[in-house]
């Protein structure tokens, strides 16, 4: 751009000729204040409350009451497909398009394994464990533009997304985090400041074990051989040549995987992190070691 823009613009130049801005000169933006004084303060006379009755006296019945007949929310029958809808696990979707965007902007480091912590630090996703979020799911919108070799760990992934990542020579794993571990994973620093030892990650419940034991979903509980077979099968299905990762220079990073009970890379359950003195305390008692290593 050849013309340099003055940030202040014309207003800056006009200000040079105006009186000094002091405490006496300031006034609010016209229309921002709604102050009225006197009898018109609350709308005047009946103040918008109507005439007599429950309306004016503030005694109206509860929300949903329709005067005595069966209200709408009771008249409609329940059905089993809605049962426990508010307790179902939810997964925040992450498109491959957004993932590529974050990698291109440099917010995600492809030379390190990509974890939910890294995604949250890059402000790529917002996960709310208190709203029944159990993690992040990879969605295959943008699989045609995706071109990055990464080691990514999510909680759910669609087949197309798995294919897109493996086509570019990356590694994808799906793993389970129980809500407490998820809360710790998202915000590690407030957890470390609490002064509690890192807990063990819980195993999935019986309805989720088949999902995470399946090699098709690249579950973390599945056999590594079956995962290799599933990779080959998926490459045949989607019609791309499966690149050989073992000859890659970043093979060590791509093959990094967390232990079943581990929450953070490099930190085992039972350890206590002291942020202020920058020390890690490990348990020495036999029973504790036995518990944390089981």
């Amino acid at each position: 751009m050849s013309v340099t823009k003055k940030t202040g613009g014309k207003a800056f130049e006009i200000l040079q000729n105006l009186p000094r801005i002091t405490l006496a000169n300031l006034r609010p933006e016209p229309g921002s204040k709604q102050l009225r004084r006197g009898r018109g303060q609350h709308g005047g006379n009946r103040s918008g409350r109507g005439h007599k009755g429950e309306r004016q006296r503030g005694n109206r019945p509860r929300l949903g009451f329709v005067g005595g007949s069966t209200p709408f929310y009771l008249a409609i029958p329940k059905y089993t497909y809605n049962e426990g809808h508010s307790r179902r696990p939810q997964y925040q979707p992450l498109t491959l398009k957004r993932l590529q965007y974050l990698i291109d902007l440099g917010r995600l480091d492809t030379t390190q394994p990509i974890d939910l912590t890294q995604l949250v630090n890059a402000r790529g996703v917002t996960v709310q464990p208190l709203k029944r979020d159990y993690g992040v799911q990879l969605v295959d919108e943008g699989s045609d533009i995706f071109a990055a070799k990464i080691n990514i760990e999510v909680q759910r992934a669609s087949e197309g997304a798995i294919a897109a990542i493996e086509r570019n020579g990356g590694v994808i794993t799906t793993s389970y985090y129980d809500p407490i571990s998820l809360g710790i994973l998202i915000k590690p620093v407030p957890f470390f400041l609490r002064g509690q030892p890192i807990p063990r990650r819980m195993l999935p419940g019986e309805d989720m074990v088949p999902y995470y034991s399946d090699a098709e979903n690249r579950g973390y509980l599945a056999d590594l051989d079956k995962i290799q077979q599933a990779r080959i099968a998926l490459a045949l299905k989607y019609g791309y040549a499966l690149p050989n990762i073992s000859k890659d220079e970043l093979y060590h990073m791509l093959s990094m995987r967390k232990d079943v009970r581990q929450i953070f890379f490099g930190l085992a359950p039972g350890w206590l992190v002291n942020m202020h003195e920058k020390k890690i305390l490990k348990p020495t008692d036999e029973k504790l070691l036995k518990y944390y290593n089981s």
Partner: protein, 292 residues
Amino acid sequence: VFRNKIRCVSSFAGESAVPPNLLLPTNLVDPSRHRRPAPPPDTALPILRSCDTSLPAHLSPVRTWVQTLMNPSDEPLGLTELHPDVFAVPPRLDILHQVEIWQKNFKRISHAKTKVRSEVRGGGRKPWRQKGSGRARHGSIRSPLWRGGGVSHGPRGPTSYYYMLPMKVRVMGLKVALSSKLAQDYLHIVDSLDIPTPDPQYLTELIKQKHWGQSVLIVDVGEEFPENILKATEELKTVNIIPAMGLNVHSMLKHESLILTLETVRFLEEKLLWHDIRFSPLYPFKLPYSDI
């Protein structure tokens, strides 16, 4: 007789004499006010400090004179380059007003409290029987209708007027205040706060000679200030010195002139520009972050 002793000129065209009964505002623009011109692009003076961060191509830095407090002469030492996103932002007067009102009110706790009819001493017994006495019916002698009775809708207990403006609004307020000071030629940059004597008289004469105005706010970074300037400003009511962390919109508007050192300019630019590029907080910024 003018309220202030400064001669003011009316902006009406075609009238030479100001009518005697005209009440002029005290801060009317005084054209005889000594306003120094902007540094021309071909000065021989060196640029003592340029912006730390690299500016985008469409922005150019603002240049101002750098003066010294050691000798009271008017000659500047050199030039400084100031970041336009801190010292030349659009003059958002509504943000200045918001921040000023916030500063005034968020600390306020009003302790006004009146007694309600249940809190006033007495008034539990019905004063006279309901019917037959001929007087109006009453239930207690402390109802709001009675003399000495409770107040029905009075102030109740300590009320807090605490609220927080968003961080970025408060930062913008500081930027707008600095920019408007620079635009109206009330901002002066100084290389350091060394003075030859701790005499307050020296400072007042210096301010008068340099035409810095009635009140001056001096800002510096660092834990220790030179003793001379501390002693000199201690006695004076209109000349005040504050650390850079204490810079706020209210103080800037209250004092006529603002004096910053080069170190302060660097500190302010660093702190105020960070808010333009930072991520949103996952947890409060006071807790340790490894990457921000």
